[in-house]
Assembly symmetry: C2
Homo-oligomer: 227 residues x 2
DNA sequence: TGGCGTATGTAACTTGGGTCACGTACATCA
DNA sequence: TGATGTACGTGACCCAAGTTACATACGCCA
């Protein structure tokens, strides 16, 4: 069994899978596959079939919509320990993949064939709970996204995003282009706003990253409804 | 049993419930309640608890988000024979109602207590399928909504909506105000666009409704990506 | 038939943010 | 140490759409 190590990693990343009965866990282990993706590789395009239920072990992907003019809007990010919930959507709805998904780094998945997925959904309450927890979390986050996109201005959304992307030191390791793609906007608009905040002393910019100086200012700018 | 007639109506509106085993159907019938709402009454506000799984028998509600400035955006409509999927979301995610919901007409529901809902999700594959079918359909429609709101212009969205709301004769029985609320816009903007289309001879407007004259023109305007 | 409430028409203005068209600054590798 | 590719800065411009501010117009009830 060359997969023993990977299976171990898998259960480490998804501890709730340990709640399954021995029998069901054995079924998982028997059927699972561990595909890989290069960084930058396309995982899914809109409209593709979804033959597997997909969980992320290493790396990560971003799922997004693309407009006719080429602008992108981030829907959500799949990181180690989380599932690619759009595959859940495909399998449950019996439809096609509803967006595009691209690996942001070299990525390793655990993939469960559709038949096994459905089988386990039927027989394992723990597996069901695991799947539905993730799935309902996604819907919540997409509903917030609707609200944001429909009613919030771009500068507020940008402020929030910087805070969300920042590490403990306040560094945001993204280019303006990437921020624009996350927000469904374009580079120039992001640059414009960032320069303004840099002049105000709220951030410091660098090539390929930026540094938040005044977290509080950004938070009160993007946070409560008001200005 | 004063509810016999209602239970009969209920199963008529939701034929897939007949697929449940006799035992599980008996459980449904035993625990169900049939609350009513006046037209215009608030069913849920954002953040409310959801003690029931709710299915619509008569009437209907609209679920929408509201911006800080008071603009509304329709998320989806609950009609007879469909469930209020946000209650599913609440029950599965264990969270609060994620939007506001208002009865558009006098409305009758079938409501299943949360405990019964969870019990049946565990023991009845048919019930599970019924719930998850609806739920996954909702996610699909919300994802389309994201795409539309983020990337489509208001006039295209309006054209599509007119076509969607029109009856067989091409009559759309809504005020400009209501159309605006569906689309997350304001009345003046809708009126402006409608006048333009009236001048072009695509529609005829009246008080409280309008008539589509040239379906094809509207469809090609809003439909394919181009102009 | 006059008035009141609701629905609509429309002009003028403002603004956010996307588009165009550059110029400049790093950074790496030959 | 130049050349080339990638990231960033910036101004000018434009357009969709929201805001403001009224003017009607219809329809019903007293």
């Amino acid at each position: 069994m060359p997969n023993t190590a990977l299976i171990e990693t898998w259960f480490e990343r998804f501890p709730s899978l340990r709640d399954l009965s021995d029998q069901h866990r054995a079924l998982l282990a028997e059927r699972v596959m561990f595909p890989e993706l290069q960084g930058g590789a396309v995982a899914y395009r809109e409209g593709w079939e979804c033959p597997n239920y997909v969980m992320c072990l290493e790396g990560g992907t971003r799922s997004f919509k693309t407009s006719s003019s080429g602008r992108e809007l981030l829907l959500y990010r799949v990181v180690p320990g989380s599932t690619c919930v759009f595959t859940t959507q495909c399998l449950l709805a019996g439809g096609k993949f509803p967006a595009e998904s691209v690996a942001e780094a070299p990525t390793r998945f655990a993939a469960l064939p559709a038949a096994t997925f459905h089988e386990l959904m039927g027989i394992s309450p723990e597996f069901r709970r695991f799947v539905l927890d993730d799935y309902s979390t996604l819907l919540s986050s997409i509903l917030s996204l609707v609200d944001e996109v429909a009613f919030s201005s771009l500068d507020k959304r940008l402020a929030q995003r910087l805070l969300a992307e920042a590490d403990a030191e306040g560094t945001v390791a993204k280019t303006h282009q990437q921020l624009a793609a996350d927000l469904g906007s374009v580079r120039e608009v992001i640059s414009r706003q960032l320069s303004e905040w840099e002049r105000a002393g709220w951030i410091r910019t660098a090539r390929g990253s930026l540094q938040i100086v005044d977290r509080r200012a950004l938070a009160s700018y993007g946070g409560p409804k008001g200005a």
